[in-house]
């Protein structure tokens, strides 16, 4: 046998991290859907990051001499009823969604509101799902029935109840997205954990006397990452949609700050009076970003399934 192993052609050693990363990325390029989705999403991320250099106007700067204008050289996408530049408001709005989370007036965290919301939902949902799926028994029953009860509420209603209860602010929107997303994520992770817990390597870990938390987070969770990542991308899309809805209903970020949903709500009044731009552009922004994320996630899912 010693001979056999030496005579055997050496299988390629583990590729470097960079190469493996590239292999991962190359899956995206195998799918047209994913590439289109990625381009749309990257466009919004790009304009959000570089918002301050992409427009000469501040998103809150009012120009009463130029109200409700259509697209022009001075104002790329036109202006709203208060004469604010729509392009500036749009890309500063994207910033809140994708790049920064304003916690208070002077303090913000990197990573957008939608991303933080989904991330928090993932943390809580995964934990609950892992507990239900791996530990099982009465813990599973209690956790899943409680989450079922939450899922019985219509999503919009749940958002409104939460925001109405804690008040409208970026951090509270994050909280609402997390709470609303948790049951779905928990269900997904639970079903994945139920499958993975039957594998022999989990038995091996149990036979080492590992504690249940180690098994859940170190042995099970990494093997569930594929479906979780794809689900999370779709969820970011839903979260953006939810933020738009809340903004439209006046439960989003408080007024002067640029919020896509409230922009649509404000602009809506002027559609029939001949200035549809203020309502149209933020609608297009929401739609394109959500569709982009969906395309990206779908393409990725299809391609990764094909790989198996």
């Amino acid at each position: 046998m010693a001979v056999s192993e030496q005579a055997m052609p050496k299988a390629a050693a583990r590729p470097s991290r960079l190469k493996r990363l590239w292999e991962g990325i190359s899956i995206i390029f195998a799918s047209k859907t994913a590439v289109i989705g990625l381009i749309i999403v990257l466009f919004w991320v790009f304009v959000a990051i570089f918002a301050p250099v992409l427009t000469p106007y501040s998103p809150t700067e009012q120009d009463f001499k130029a109200q409700n204008q259509g697209p022009s050289g001075a104002h790329l996408l036109g202006t709203d009823s208060l004469g604010r530049d729509i392009w500036s408001r749009l890309i500063y709005g994207a910033r809140v969604v994708l790049v920064i989370l304003p916690v208070s007036e002077s303090f913000w965290l990197p990573g957008g509101t939608a991303l933080w919301g989904v991330f928090l939902g993932l943390v809580v949902g995964s934990t609950l799902g892992l507990m239900g799926g791996y530990l099982g028994g009465w813990i599973d029953e209690v956790v899943m029935r409680l989450l079922d009860a939450m899922m019985a509420f219509p999503v919009i209603l749940l958002y409104m109840i939460i925001i109405a209860a804690v008040g409208a602010s970026a951090t509270n929107v994050v909280l609402a997205i997390a709470i609303v997303g948790t049951p779905g994520i928990a269900r997904l992770v639970r079903s994945l954990a139920l499958d993975i817990r039957t594998r022999d390597y989990i038995r091996a870990a149990e036979l080492r006397g590992e504690n249940p938390w180690y098994i859940m987070f170190v042995e099970i969770l990494p093997n569930a990452r594929g479906p979780i990542i794809i689900d999370a991308m779709l969820r970011v899309g839903y979260a953006i949609f939810a933020m738009g809805t809340l903004g439209f209903l006046g439960l989003g970020l408080p007024p002067p700050s640029p919020d896509w949903g409230s922009m649509v709500a404000k602009g809506r009044q002027y559609i029939l009076s001949g200035s549809p731009w203020a309502a149209l552009w933020p609608s297009v922004a929401i739609a394109s970003l959500v569709v982009g994320l969906n395309l990206f996630a779908d393409g990725l899912r299809e391609e990764s399934l094909r790989y198996q």
């Binding site: 046998m1 010693a2 001979v3 056999s4 192993e5 005579a7 055997m8 052609p9 050496k10 299988a11 390629a12 050693a13 583990r14 594998r199 022999d200 390597y201 038995r203 091996a204 149990e206 036979l207 080492r208 006397g209 590992e210 042995e219 990494p222 093997n223 990452r225």
Partner: protein
């Protein structure tokens, strides 16, 4: 057979067929230059390891290759007519009518929501105009032909209402309904237990004669080939490397690969003291890496010369009717073969009675699984509780450094017994002691010191390692956890363990998916031995592996066991492997041990009637071996409601040996009869009568 050959034209003539699949990496040739013939009333077997293209050939005959597969060369003639290039529509009239197929899993071949009768009758009505009633009657007749008990009643049932062996009989009946000229069987018994397999193989043998059908039989199991086939083609990496009559292939193999295969499998009766297994070195090349102008086996061949690497040998006739794809078949003398240095471990020293205190002692162990009954009462917690009695009163002892093999068919409780001992299941009753510690508590309540002494090797190589971490990380985890070595020495120790399982240090940074099945299994063994346990449980460690890899893994386990002096529990369903590997053997049936004792005592009379039936059912890879013909009726009863008295009485072929036909077996639990101090049998039949039995296996 050779006489009729000249007169009859073959039913199927496959010539130089090449089949390729379109993949991401371009076209991959899965099969090339395969030629064989199948004649009426004979079975042509195609044997080979996984991935050698044997199923591809079968699917190629009926062009079931899927959207990405196609036949790229050669010809397939069925009753003189060319099949290659025919449209799917033309082929459809042949399939199911003149050419029938039987697949591995009967549950996937039968529609679960249509009654068996409708499915059978449809086969007739689809291909010809025939009144429904007549089709129905013909189907019943056919079920009777395949020895289906209560055929008329079975017609009304759904597939899930009959057992696996019966399902496969229905599938075979379905295939034979139109009296096909050619029957293609793709591993038809692989999913079945040995006793059921034996019955199905007998059936195939009978039908071939009665229906005058040509059978192409595909399998990986050399024992099955030896039992049912008249002619065999050995496939390796997409090529037919040897072809000939069954006796010639087994008695005088001409190709080095076939010779190697024969040295890999333990024959029933060989032991680690009496013989060695010699794995074939290296591994099967992936389809995209197969050499074009060279012998495909050269890199693994002991006789390879420069010519083998530069020129491709053709399948040529060595002896009349016996061909091999090798330049040197005439020069190679398989009997003179010398194993290369270090390929197989030394013979095990003869087992000696040490008289040491047993390391593991299990007394009257019971493990039940609670089953919710579906009544309303149980919904409110008042219903009668039902139990699956997976392990029912098992007692055994294992002396230190020895191996206890546990055999039995699926569902006999052997895996549950193992899980109970390691602590993954909690016993319902009984005692278990290991190294003087009580081990009836679950693993989560055991002391770390105890945990590290009891480890396990698992069955499925694909799920034994966590796919998210490198091999090195996974082996170092138990070392760190049990503090087996100081933390700065962990990597060193991991490499040492790798070397112990014959892997080099470069595997440290590899992910499990970059390893072959055999390599994964070795890493699993390294993990189990990392904490230097006193007892290792091996749950079917080689049953998912190809024979050549299986031999390597068995050798490795033997060698490590000797090196560390580890005690082992070896669970398997393959009696030859258990015989080879174990010092003691326990035979289980429905949660009970029915016979336990030193390995050689189990395989010789006196037998428990169940052991006797098992032994006579094992397919032995040697056509010269004669086995007693004992077949079990019926199926294993449910462990939820096991038969009273002796659980085996419903199927026991030896009950008639007792006065009044064994009434006592139905009412009373049998006593343990001690043949020797260590060998005991759980049976009502007195030892004197059991001793009268003839040995099951005899060599002609």
């Amino acid at each position: 057979m050779t006489i009729t050959l000249g007169i009859q034209s073959p039913v199927l003539k496959v010539e130089n067929v090449a089949i390729s699949y379109e993949t991401r990496y371009g076209d991959v040739e899965a099969v090339r230059q395969v030629s064989f013939e199948a004649h009426r009333a004979t079975t042509f077997g195609i044997v080979g390891e996984s991935g050698c293209g044997k199923s591809t050939v079968a699917f190629g005959i009926v062009d079931f290759l899927g959207p990405n597969g196609k036949i790229v060369g050669g010809s397939i003639k069925f009753q003189g007519r060319e099949l290659v290039g025919r449209s799917q529509k033309e082929l459809r009239t042949l399939r199911g009518d003149q050419i029938a197929m039987v697949y591995q899993d009967p549950m996937q071949a039968l529609n679960p929501s249509v009654t068996l009768g409708d499915q059978l009758a449809e086969v007739l009505t689809v291909h010809r105009v025939i009144p429904k009633a007549e089709a129905w009657q013909k189907s019943i007749d056919m079920l009777n032909r395949v020895y289906m008990p209560d055929a008329a009643n079975v017609m009304q049932r759904y597939p899930h209402q009959i057992s696996g062996g019966q399902q496969q009989r229905v599938v075979i009946a379905m295939a034979l309904l139109n009296n096909p000229a050619l029957l293609i069987m793709d591993e038809p018994t692989t999913a079945l237990d040995v006793t059921v397999e034996a019955v199905v193989l007998d059936l195939i043998e009978d039908l071939k004669r009665d229906f005058d059908t040509a059978i192409v039989y595909i399998t990986h199991n050399l024992g099955v080939v030896a039992r049912v086939c008249d002619y065999v083609g050995v496939m390796y990496a997409g090529e037919l490397v040897e072809r000939g009559p069954i006796e010639a292939i087994f008695g005088d193999p001409q190709h080095p690969y076939t010779q190697g295969l024969m040295r890999c499998v333990p024959k029933l009766g060989t032991t680690k003291e009496s013989s060695r297994l010699y794995p074939i070195r290296g591994r099967v090349p992936a389809p995209k890496n197969r050499p074009k102008g060279a012998c495909i086996f050269a890199p693994r061949c002991d006789y390879a010369t420069d010519r083998c690497y530069n020129e491709r040998p053709l399948l040529r006739e060595i002896k009349p009717g016996h061909s091999a794809r090798c330049f040197y078949s005439e020069q190679i003398d398989a009997d003179a073969w010398q194993p290369p240095e270090g390929v197989a471990p030394e013979l095990a020293p003869a087992a000696e009675e040490t008289g040491q205190k047993p390391i593991l002692q299990v007394k009257d162990l019971k493990t039940y699984y609670e089953q919710e009954s579906k009544s309303l009462l149980s919904l409110v917690g008042m219903g009668e509780k039902l139990y699956v009695k997976a392990v029912e009163g098992v007692s055994l002892e294992v002396p230190p450094g020895k191996t206890l093999g546990i055999v039995g068919e699926s569902g006999c409780g052997k895996s549950t017994l193992a899980k109970t001992i390691v602590g993954l299941e909690s016993p319902t009753g009984g005692d278990a002691e290991f190294l003087g510690f009580d081990i009836t508590s679950p693993v989560s309540e055991r002391d770390v010191k105890l945990i590290q002494e009891l480890q396990m090797v698992f069955q499925n190589p694909d799920s034994t390692m966590n796919p998210s971490y490198t091999i090195g990380q996974q082996i170092s985890r138990p070392l760190r956890r049990f503090k087996a070595v100081p933390s700065n020495k962990v990597r060193e120790e991991v490499i040492r363990l790798f070397n112990a399982v014959r892997l080099d240090g470069s595997y440290y940074d590899r992910l499990p998916r970059q390893l072959s099945g055999g390599e994964k299994q070795r890493v699993g063994i390294a993990r189990a031995f990392a904490s230097r346990p006193a007892l290792v449980l091996c749950d079917e460690p080689v049953s998912a592996l190809d024979v050549s890899v299986q031999a390597a893994v068995l050798n490795l386990l033997l060698e490590i066991q000797r090196q560390y002096g580890t005690t082992m529990l070896f669970i398997a369903h393959d009696l030859s492997v258990v015989r080879f590997f174990s010092d003691y053997v326990a035979v289980m049936y429905l949660g009970h041990i029915v016979e336990i004792g030193p390995a050689e005592a189990i395989y010789a009379p006196p037998y428990h009637p169940y052991t006797e039936a098992l032994l006579s059912a094992v397919p032995i890879p040697d056509p010269k071996v004669e086995q007693k013909h004992i077949r079990l009726e019926g199926t294993v009863p449910s462990a939820l409601n096991p038969p009273s008295g002796c659980t085996f009485h419903t199927r026991c072929p030896r009950r008639s040996m007792l006065p009044d036909g064994g009434q006592i077996c139905e009412t009373e639990v049998p006593p343990w009869r001690y043949n020797t101090e260590k060998h005991r049998i759980f049976c009502h039949i007195p030892l004197e009568d059991l001793r009268q039995m003839e040995p099951v296996v005899t060599t002609v």
